[in-house]
Structure formats: structure tokens, C-alpha cells
């Protein structure tokens, strides 16, 4: 059974979990098509991280008009970007992501938008949060068709950062750097561990006890459905229109 709740949407649950990762006095950024990460980062800013600086790439916020993609890339290369969010048409069990082509690269079944800086950001951002609203075996594969960015590197590569967390519409996983594998942290309400396994094409590390993802509090929901909803709507009107926020 997919995620089920009468009290909050899947986007609100994911945003609430994401917000816990955001630290005060850091820089955080996100790219295109990231309404759930944006809601999560703004929730952190409204609660425990008031001095975190959020610099989403391509935002139309006039306060940010001197911060473009270049400045975000520069912050990452300088080691000052704490969190960036990446998706992936495919994500594999070792944290490799594919944003380039599905199928044979020279005769692809699907040509995707491309790396857009992720080849560098995945290495240089302190923590990358991977997110997808579709948790299926076609997305979560044992090996990606094309490594647009690599989940891990050998010792000859200077790599301060990398994958940290993977959050989807059914569960949360944490990246175990030593084993280069994902560990199941929690399942969303209504979802079983077996369903996570069935919908994941790679091997997952599963502890004996897997809790349910912590629900948003009424205070968090009020913030998400108030000023945060308005700001996300300014950037992603489609997400709000399609019921991304409840209430």
C-alpha cells in the first residue's frame, strides 16, 4: 500500500523530515523542480535554523538576484555549501545517479536534461540529499545506465562530500559511506518494509527495527500551509495547484 494519511500530504511529510537535516548558520541550495526540498528548507528556516542562508538556483526572489548558479557552484567548490538536493532518473544502490540517458548512450531510449553541475556538486557539497517522488524499480536500479555523478570515489580523488540521505514517497534511507550502500531509516505511514524491498531494484541494508517516519507536528503543518506554501507557490505554482500542501 502506498503512503496513507488523512492528516498531511506526502510532500509535507518529506519536507518535515528534510527540515531536520538543515543546520543553522550554513548555506543550503536546491535546483530546478525541487518544491519539496524548498518547503523543507524553509520550514527549518522558520524553526531551528533562522540564520541558515538558502540560495535556490533560479529563484525569482529579488533579494537573491546577485546569486546565480555560478555563485552556488563557487560556494560548493569553496567547501561552504552544506546541503544540495539532487534527483535522478535512475539512482543505484551505490549512490550513483543518472541524469543523462536511459538505455545505450549512443542510441538512448530517453535523453534526459543532463548533469547541470551535479558532476561537481555531488563531490563538493558537504551533504547531498537525494529525493524522488517515484519509488519504483525503474528508478532505483542496481546499476545506473550512465553515471552522471558517482556516489563514491577512490582515495586519489579529493572528495569532502557526497550522498547523505535518500528520501522518497515511501521511505527514508541513509547512505552508509563505509559500505557504499543505503540503510533503511524509516518507512512512511501505511508502507511496509517488504513493499520498500519490492519497489527497490538494489539491495538495501535493513535493521531489525524500522520505525515509521515521524509525522509533522500541528505547528509544522501550520507553517507549511501558511507562509511557506505561499513562497513555494511563487516558484512552483503547479506543485501547490496539484495539492502538494494539505489543509
Amino acid at each position: 500500500m502506498p503512503f496513507q494519511s488523512d492528516d498531511y500530504t506526502i510532500g509535507e511529510l518529506m519536507a518535515t523530515r528534510i527540515s531536520r537535516e538543515v543546520r543553522d548558520d550554513t548555506y543550503v541550495s536546491s535546483g530546478a523542480a525541487s518544491p519539496v526540498p524548498m518547503a523543507g528548507v524553509l520550514l527549518a528556516q522558520e524553526t531551528h535554523a533562522p540564520d541558515m542562508i538558502y540560495v535556490p538556483i533560479g529563484a525569482s526572489n529579488p533579494e537573491l538576484n546577485l546569486i546565480s548558479g555560478k555563485e552556488v557552484f563557487d560556494l560548493a567548490q569553496r567547501g561552504r555549501l552544506d546541503i544540495f538536493f539532487l534527483g535522478g532518473a535512475q539512482i543505484d544502490g551505490h549512490g550513483n545517479i543518472n541524469l543523462t540517458t536511459i538505455g545505450d548512450h549512443d542510441r538512448p531510449d530517453v535523453r534526459l536534461p543532463g548533469a547541470a553541475g551535479s558532476g561537481m556538486l555531488y563531490f563538493m557539497t558537504n551533504r547531498i540529499i537525494l529525493f524522488r517522488l517515484e519509488h519504483t524499480p525503474r528508478v532505483f536500479v542496481e546499476n545506473v545506465d550512465f553515471i552522471t555523478s558517482a556516489g563514491s570515489s577512490g582515495e586519489r580523488v579529493e572528495r569532502p562530500g557526497g550522498p547523505h540521505m535518500l528520501i522518497t514517497n515511501i521511505c527514508v534511507m541513509m547512505y552508509e559511506k563505509d559500505q557504499k550502500r543505503f540503510l533503511l531509516e524509516s518507512v512512511h505511514p501505511g508502507v511496509t518494509v517488504d513493499e520498500v524491498k519490492e519497489n527497490t531494484g538494489f539491495e538495501i541494508l535493513i535493521p531489525d527495527e524500522v520505525p515509521v517516519t515521524t509525522a509533522p507536528t500541528p505547528e509544522q503543518l501550520a507553517l507549511l500551509r501558511g507562509s511557506i506554501k505561499d513562497r513555494v507557490d511563487g516558484e512552483y505554482p503547479g506543485f501547490v495547484a496539484s495539492g502538494g500542501f494539505g489543509g
Binding site: S68, K70, M124, A150, V157
Partner: protein
Amino acid sequence: MPFIPSRGVIGTDLVNLHPNWKIIEDPYNEGHDILLVPAIRPDIAMIHAFKADQNGNVLAPGYEDRMVAQASDKVLVTVEEIVDYDLSEDARGGHLIPWPFVSLVIHTPRGSHPGGMKPYYEADNDHFGRYMESSKTADGFNAYLNEFVRGHTEDEYREMVTRVAVPA
């Protein structure tokens, strides 16, 4: 700049796609490798931007637009607006490409269509959907080209897709 070093990227398939990229030992970081990417020198760059002034200064949406302009031999720029003041005195809200890096400016309002050009207009997702549906087959794409591109001027295209009259 003949080439640029970049962090990251080593170990991705992007490296395999570019035989002219090189991985060397980082001369400032013993025991570690670094990726080198050679300069691209385009003959012609085409850029769609916000504004141009009478001197040929251009205000563009992306930082990479200026880099593309500086790298290229000829730089053709289409713009939403041509203004009668000096853009170098008002570069807020964009990225200035100074006139020595601009060959030609063409006034082309709605020139990003079906893409968006914030803050002028949003992307036309209905048109994108139609384009994607049409391009699934060769016949479909041909029909699309016949309807919107072949035999039409830019002004006619704009009229067709945006129902916005061409400014005088």
C-alpha cells in the same frame, strides 16, 4: 584561458564522453588527481537575453551567457527589449555582456517561447506538451514543423503561439 581544472567529475561517465578531457596529478595536492577541461572556442554563439542598449551592451539572464559570449568569435543576441539608456549603469537583475563581446542584436520579444523568460513571461507548458507529443514520430514532427516553423516568420510564429500582438 586555455583550459580549466575542475573538482569532482572523475569516476563519472561524463569523462568517457570527452576524450579531450585530461586527468593529471594535482600539482598543488600531492597524491590526488584533478580533471582538466579544454576551452571551447565556438565560431558563433546565439543568446536570448533581456535587454540591449544602443551601444550593444546586453543584459542576459545567465552568468554563462557572458562566458559564452567571451569565448565565441561572433555573438548574435536576440532580446526582449531594446532600451535607450546605458545598461552598464543598471546591471541589476541580470548579467551584463559588454558590447565588445556582442556582434549583433535583434529585437525578438517572446523569443524564448516555448521556454520562459522570467520576469517577462512563464514557460508555455501546453506548447511544450504538444511539441513532445509531436516529436514522438517523424511524421508528427514534420507536421509540427509545417504548422509552426516552415514558411513562417518569427512575427507570425509569435502571433500564432502567444496571441500577443507584435509591439510596434
